[in-house]
Amino acid sequence: MNFIEVKDVVKQYDGHLALDRVSISVPRGCVFGLLGPNGAGKTSLIRILNMITRADSGEVLFDGHQLCASDIANIGYLPEERGLYRKMKVADHILYIARLRGMDTQAARVAMGEWLERFGLTEWAGKKIETLSKGMAQKVQFITTVIHSPQLLIFDEPFSGFDPVNAELLKKEILRLHDMGATIIFSTHNMSSVEEVCEEFALINRSQVVLSGRVAQVRRNFGKKLYRVGVSDTMSLEPVDNLFSVEHVEPSPFGGIVADLRLGTDVAPRDVVAYLNDHYMLAEFHELLPSMNEIFIETVSNTNNTIAR
């Protein structure tokens, strides 16, 4: 069952088409990556999900029903450009946002106590936000996003500006919320984090979804029959017609060589393994899947070229 269903959403800003019949499906409890170059329409889509703006046409289903105002209480949103009221005290700020999200003051206080403790900010509750370091302020922003235990969390470039230690802490907390059942939408350029945490994704380019699906499946589909082998008893590897060609060879630190082989069409990996096993001392054999980064760049430049033509 999909928690979020975006169907044929169109959004136009004076003359500029920001979203062109965009459809995405986010299963319940999924970590979903929303990818795309700058200006592709990610933020427009996120704003529609947050009810900041409305779609010109198309529909958005939230947990099976039309997205409506009361769903705001079930969404947590951390924008890329995020700010805080610098003159407010940490606790006042968190409570303010929590109450606007529909929490009653008592429940908000309890939840805030837990979160502040988890991030080691308890002593800062009474301090003004302007006295906080950048890292601490980012933690406060995170707390205001998740304090009302929303079912849907939307993070726009969550790790930008975080130092590695805090980024790791943040990732841990996001995955903890995921384990607790939250559905999470990540909007990011950081492709390694997509490979690490996202199960599904949609790639938006020029206002349209150009690629989507399960991360593992798409990487496999994009695989170009490239395999890495390690052989320990030779310093050279000859290509075999109709079986494989050799793309790249380098000596292995453990002796022998490591080589990238491209398999011929309709050649099964097991045949190559059998051949190598017969002729060499085979130490390693695995498929080289393209990284999300490569898939991203390839897909974006392909669609751009198509449109250019």
Partner: protein, 438 residues
Amino acid sequence: MSSIKRISIIMWREFLAIAGKKTFIVTTILIPLIGIACMGLPFLMSKINTSETQTVAVMDESGRYGAAITSNDDFRFHDISPIGAEGLKEFYDQQENLYAIVVIPAGIDSTCNVNIISRNAVRTGLQQHVAQCLDDTITQARIASYGIPQLDKIMEDSRADVQVNCIKWEEDGSESQSNADIASFIGLMLAFLTYMFVMMYGAMILTSVSEEKTNRIVEVMVSCCRPIELLVGKIVGVGLVGLAQIAIWVALLGVASAALGFGSIASGDPSMMMQASGANAMLDGMDDETLATFMQSVASIDIAGIVVCFILYFLGGYLLYGSLFAAAGSTVDQPNESSQVTVPLMMFLVFALWAGIACIDNPDGQLAWWCSMIPFTSPVVMMVRLPYDVALWEVVLSIVVLYASAFGIAALAAKIYRKGILLYGKKFSLKDILTLLK
């Protein structure tokens, strides 16, 4: 959760964000003090200046009027007539501390000319004092020169002092005293108060809006509430700060009046009130009769009606300009741009104030009438007209026009605001703003 609940949460935050600051408390107390200081300072300064007594020499060539110039707190006069005109310069050069020399020429009876010689410019106080002393004495001497018995008495009796009383005929045929000076003073005060508050609190709304936009909290905010809720919460919250400030001032005034005995105003004894307030210095020239007229004029102005209208116009004007300031603030990207967008609004307000001042001379004229109907100027201009008894239908019409346009403009401003707060890196032209209104 309802809109009202969210608006009230936002409203309180906005209220506390301004009213909770130390600067608010300090300025609230300081503004009346500065006001009093501005009025009282020139008076105090003149007091400080005159604390010194200057020595002035009198060279009386006429031989008759030297004694007429009498010493007072400011000046001490010495007769130096025996020195003679030839020795005057030498004498002055020797006397370092001599402030000035008054020279009364021999022919003063006919010319009425007196010279004051000094090293520096002399204080006007000296000129006035010398003139006053000699005026009386020479007048007396001239009257006496006619040789008519009791001429001075006859002249005193025949002097006329015309008092102009303004009587207003009410519809029911009764009469009441009115006083243009007092009416215009009260009107101008209220007009200025409205002007100042709309300007001050409008600017606060603008700052609050543009701050949210420039520090990017607004994206989080509009994901928690509708932009219109944020806008309304802000306008109401900042407005409450204004009302709180007025309430504090009224309370301070009450405390101060109680302390100074202004309370006697309620007992209806004007002379006691005047004495108690220490205002008798100001009203020195007023005899009891004038005072009674003054009080009657004050009583003839419909205080309760004016207060109700003041509040209505004040709130309407605040809503109108407040939403415009909010719309202007939402187009501001960088904090330093805000002054550009406020200039047109400020010009409207300043024009309203000038129109108000101009209307004092002719509160029933064309300018006054139209400016008290146009919603951009009516909150200020109508304040000037009100103490002159404006027809009820005019007031009602003007208030209806004001509120209708205030709500209309607030709705348009909300449209600009809603889109403006999320647009960055864009210079807004008038055309862009019109597009936002679509």
